[in-house]
């Protein structure tokens, strides 16, 4: 992991981490480390999660009632805390995904013309 490599990664926008967590948990309950790994992996390692920041986000989502925590046993037979999506969380994910798509589309439209204008 060189410094150069890190620079190519993109820091997460405020609030998008919540969305990514919800999206990850659609596939099934997971523990904290697995969620972090999944996000990095699925974004082809472009999105960098400072893994620590995952935890406040998880707690925030629990507080809102979008995910729930439960005790479980991990693949190598260790006790671990699993997070799973609640019904409200699933609804929220749909909502947030739509919102994100709109936002991304809008920003994309704003940015596109600037390429054609070129430099003055």
């Amino acid at each position: 992991m060189s410094t150069r490599e890190e620079k190519e990664r993109i820091e997460l926008l405020q609030g998008t981490l919540d969305l990514l967590i919800l999206r990850t948990l659609v596939l099934g309950p997971a523990h904290g480390h697995a969620i972090a790994k999944a996000i990095e992996y699925r974004s082809d390692e472009v999105l960098q999660v400072e893994q620590g920041s995952l935890y406040p986000a998880l707690h925030r989502l629990i507080r809102r009632g979008w995910i729930a925590a439960e005790e479980g046993t991990s693949e190598n037979n260790r006790r671990a805390k699993y997070y799973r999506l609640t019904a409200r969380g699933r609804k929220q994910l749909t909502l947030e995904t739509n919102k994100w798509a709109k936002l991304a589309g809008a920003i994309g439209r704003v940015l596109r013309p600037s390429k054609q204008e070129g430099r003055p």
Partner: protein, 860 residues
């Protein structure tokens, strides 16, 4: 809350595991273990920061929940407006009354006096002469400054008609000691206060505004005062005043009133002193005692037995008001406690009514803390709304208080509601909500699910738990209200006693006109006599009018005492002579005032400057100094006169209440104005008895005065009835206010009793139905229900009597003619309280009597 703790406890384990997993991943990718662990930790980021962020997530939750609770509470209250209105009104009354009284206390007792470093200022009871002030100032190294002032009525003559204004004859030290800078020009200094100095004056803001039209160039101009011209050297800022006085202008004593300044024995100045930093009151008292002893040794005639006990100026200014205000604030606190008890009772009743809802919520997993918090949110919301309603109520009360009672609240600091008072009101409201909301909130959370659901389902005599507490609350309320009623009763009785005191004169249909003759034109006694005689002749010539005059009339706050020597009695050491009131009169003063003659004759026009000196004394004097002998024919004189002027006593009159109705009469000597040698007594109160003593008569009287001398101001015109009223005003004020609080508390208690009884009847409808079904008579039911009220009343009354016995002695100072444990008052108050309890519990009892057993049983 529990969840929060639980989640946070797990956090450490979660982090540890997370890092272990990452380390393992790194090792799997081929890193060395040490490097793998380091990389994992680095990738995780700042652990402390993260923990902090996580904790914050839950803190936010707490606030969020509280807001949610408040919204829920507001929704619930909207659904039961009757309950909300009752609770808010109860609290608004209690908090409003408290805030109003606190406003007054804040301004009068708590707010510092408007001078530089006011905590350093001291004064003492008893006046000083100019020479004494000089000596003390010179000898007292513990004072950094000191000065005095003598109030005098003077005439301002530059207006369209002569105006009587209040002058302060000022010692040079007065302004330095108070430390307030003038708004224009400069203040009076020591140098201004010297014999033969230039006539200079410092004006008050209001005098400058009213008579000089706020002229910014007033300094250097001259004004006419008492036939002299004074040059204005300064104007004091708005709000400046000397404690307890309302001076219009300040003149240097040795310039304006040189005669009086020369004598050590003329103790006529109020003095104010500033302690040096670090000097305690105790040290100052010791130092003053030393100085007094030294002065007594050097000048035994004037200085013996003079005691100087310094007190903080703030305390001296509020001295008379303090006990009354403290008692009123105690009383108003009781009102608040009663209101709070009622509030708690209302909340409890509501919690009983909502028990089923709460139980179900508890059964569905509502946490105990959450339920308590919800209860508290509701009570706090109610309390805050009560507080919000209380503030305008308090503002109204304050306005009424200030309007009703200028004398007691005449104070340096204006009385108004400011931030501190607002904070007080809001603080009291919040505390009330939290403390008194605790009990019902607790009872919510105690709800035992299974037990309560069972009880709710089917009950005969249920719901006693909450009721017991409510009864205890009401019992306490009865006790507190009884204390208030007793206090009020004692004041009412004192007032009645005082009203029935014989003042010794008949105030009906008598007007008093205060006149002060200007210094220069009336310096000589013959000139004064000419004016006095002329005025009385003119007034007495008016149809139906009887007029006379005296130097000081009763209940007017003025007094002048002389030392007395009696012929044939052993001479008394100088300083130990008897002190008696001395009043100069002219005309048929005793006749106009209807003061009864006890022996001898009254003073007549023949007792003038060409006839032997005579005097009339009052009964107190005759009794005290001529016990067992006839006072008539005895000779008296003023002690310490250079040439003795013996006066023969020709009559004895009944005692008159000179100072106040509550104080015994002092020994007094009445002498004819025509025979006095005291040319400085230029003041007089003309008493006019006429069939119709009203303001309509004023122009006639004024014309008589101004026909004689158009330069004479008429300082103050009052009817003697008004004077009587003024002397009672303060007591009446205290009585009315305490009475208002007592009435408020009785209403609250009645509501409380009614609430508890009505609730218990509604809870016991079933039981009462059964009782009636098995043969109980209606009267038995009545007894059953009212018995409960009577038991509360008996216990509460006992509590209240004990409290009253302990507390009413604190108000001894406010009482007159009765003891603090006046049995009649106590009996009357207990009777009243019982009557209130009976009436308040009779209404629900009647409803209980009408219970139809069939309906009651079917209801189940």
């Amino acid at each position: 809350m529990k969840r929060r703790q639980h989640m946070l406890e797990d956090l450490d384990r979660d982090i540890r595991e997370h890092i272990e997993r990452e380390t393992q991943d790194n090792i799997d990718r081929g890193m060395a273990p040490d490097e793998a662990k380091y990389a994992a930790i680095r990738k995780f980021g700042n652990v402390t920061q993260m923990k902090e962020d996580t904790r914050e997530v839950w803190t936010m939750l707490w606030l969020d929940q509280f807001a949610q609770d408040l919204r829920f509470a507001a929704r619930m209250l909207r659904k039961s407006p009757g309950f909300a209105a009752a609770a808010i009104l109860t609290l608004a009354l209690g908090i409003g009354a408290n805030t109003a009284i606190f406003t007054v206390i804040h301004a009068v007792l708590l707010e510092p006096l408007p001078y530089a470093n006011p905590q350093e200022l001291v004064t003492w009871h008893g006046n000083e002469s100019q020479l004494e002030i000089d000596d003390i100032r010179q000898q007292a190294d513990f004072f950094s400054a000191g000065g005095g002032v003598n109030p005098e009525a003077v005439t301002y003559t530059d207006g369209t008609e002569p105006v009587g204004v209040h002058a302060g004859y000022t010692d040079g030290g007065l302004f330095p000691v108070l430390g307030v800078a003038p708004m224009l020009g400069r203040a009076l200094t020591m140098d201004d206060n010297r014999f033969g100095g230039p006539r200079v004056a410092v004006l008050s803001y209001s005098f400058w505004r009213d008579y000089l039209a706020g002229d910014p160039n007033a300094v250097g101009k001259t004004i006419g005062v008492d036939d002299n011209r004074y040059t204005v050297i300064g104007v004091m800022p708005s709000g400046f005043g000397v404690p307890a006085y309302d001076f219009d202008l300040y003149l240097p004593l040795r310039v304006a009133y040189a005669d009086a300044a020369r004598y050590r024995g003329v103790h006529f100045m109020n003095t104010y002193w500033r302690l040096k930093p670090g000097v305690s009151l105790h040290q100052a008292a010791a130092g003053l005692a030393t100085i007094s002893a030294r002065l007594a040794r050097d000048y035994p005639g004037e200085e013996r037995n003079r005691v100087r006990t310094p007190v903080p100026l703030a305390q001296a200014v509020t001295g008379d008001v303090r006990p009354a205000l403290l008692i009123l604030s105690g009383a108003v606190c009781l009102v608040l406690l009663i209101a709070c008890a009622n509030f708690a009772g209302l909340l409890l009743a509501r919690s009983e009514a909502r028990r089923r809802e709460m139980v179900i919520r508890a059964a569905l997993g509502g946490g105990r803390r959450r339920l308590i918090f919800q209860g508290l949110a509701e009570s706090s919301l109610l309390a805050l709304m009560g507080g919000a309603a209380a503030l305008p109520l308090a503002a109204l009360c304050v306005r009424a208080l200030v309007a009703a009672k200028p004398a007691m609240l005449a104070h340096q600091n204006p009385i108004s509601m400011d931030a501190a008072v607002m904070a007080f009101g809001i603080g009291v409201s919040l505390l009330t909500g939290l403390i008194f909301g605790m009990a019902p909130a607790w009872s919510y959370s105690r709800a035992d699910v299974a037990e309560s659901l069972k009880r709710e389902g089917r009950t005969a005599t249920a719901g006693r738990g909450g009721l017991g507490f409510r009864k205890a609350l009401v019992t306490t309320e009865i006790g507190m209200a009884l204390v208030l009623l007793t206090g009020t009763g004692l004041l009412v009785r004192s007032f009645a006693q005082l009203r029935s005191v014989d003042p010794g004169f008949d105030p009906a249909r008598v007007m008093a006109i205060h006149i002060q003759l200007p210094t220069v034109r009336y310096a000589e006694i013959p000139k004064q006599l000419q004016f006095r005689r002329g005025l009385l002749d003119r007034l007495n010539a008016l149809p139906g009018v009887q007029a006379a005059m005296a130097s000081d009339i009763p209940l007017d706050g003025n007094e002048l005492t002389h030392n007395l020597a009696i012929e044939g009695q052993a001479p008394v050491t100088e300083g130990d002579e008897p002190e008696v009131d001395t009043i100069c009169v002219m005309g048929d003063y005793f006749g106009v005032m209807r003061i009864a003659m006890r022996a001898g004759r009254a003073l007549t026009p023949q007792d003038d400057e060409n006839h032997p000196l005579v005097a009339v004394v009052n009964e107190s004097l005759a009794r005290r100094y001529f016990a067992g002998q006839d006072a008539i024919g005895q000779r008296i004189r003023w002690a310490r006169e250079k040439e003795p002027r013996w006066m023969t006593i020709v009559g004895v009159v009944a005692d008159v209440k000179q100072y106040s109705l509550a104080e015994p009469a002092y020994p007094a000597v009445f002498t004819p104005f025509a025979q006095t040698d005291e040319g400085w007594r230029r003041w007089m109160a003309v008493v006019v008895r006429m069939p119709d003593a009203t303001a309509a008569q004023l122009p006639t009287i004024k014309r008589q005065v101004w026909d004689l001398d158009p330069q004479i101001p008429l300082n103050r015109i009052v009817s003697l009835d008004e004077l009587m009223g003024l002397s009672l005003a303060e007591r009446q004020f205290n009585m009315s206010l305490l009475g208002l609080f007592a009435a408020l508390s009785v209403v609250l208690v009645a509501v409380g009793i009614y609430g508890v009884t009505a609730y218990s009847v509604s809870q016991r409808t079933h039981e009462i139905g059964i009782r009636i079904a098995v043969g109980a008579r209606r009267l038995d039911v009545l007894r059953l229900v009212m018995g409960q009220g009577v038991r509360m009343a008996a216990l509460g009354t006992a509590l209240g009597l004990a409290g009253a016995f302990a507390l009413t002695r604190l108000m001894t100072k406010l009482l007159f003619g009765i003891s603090a444990t006046d049995p009649l008052t106590f009996a009357a108050v207990v009777g009243l309280m019982l009557a209130v309890v009976l009436v308040a519990s009779f209404v629900p009892a009647r409803r209980a009597m009408r219970v139809d057993p069939m309906v009651a049983l079917r209801y189940e």
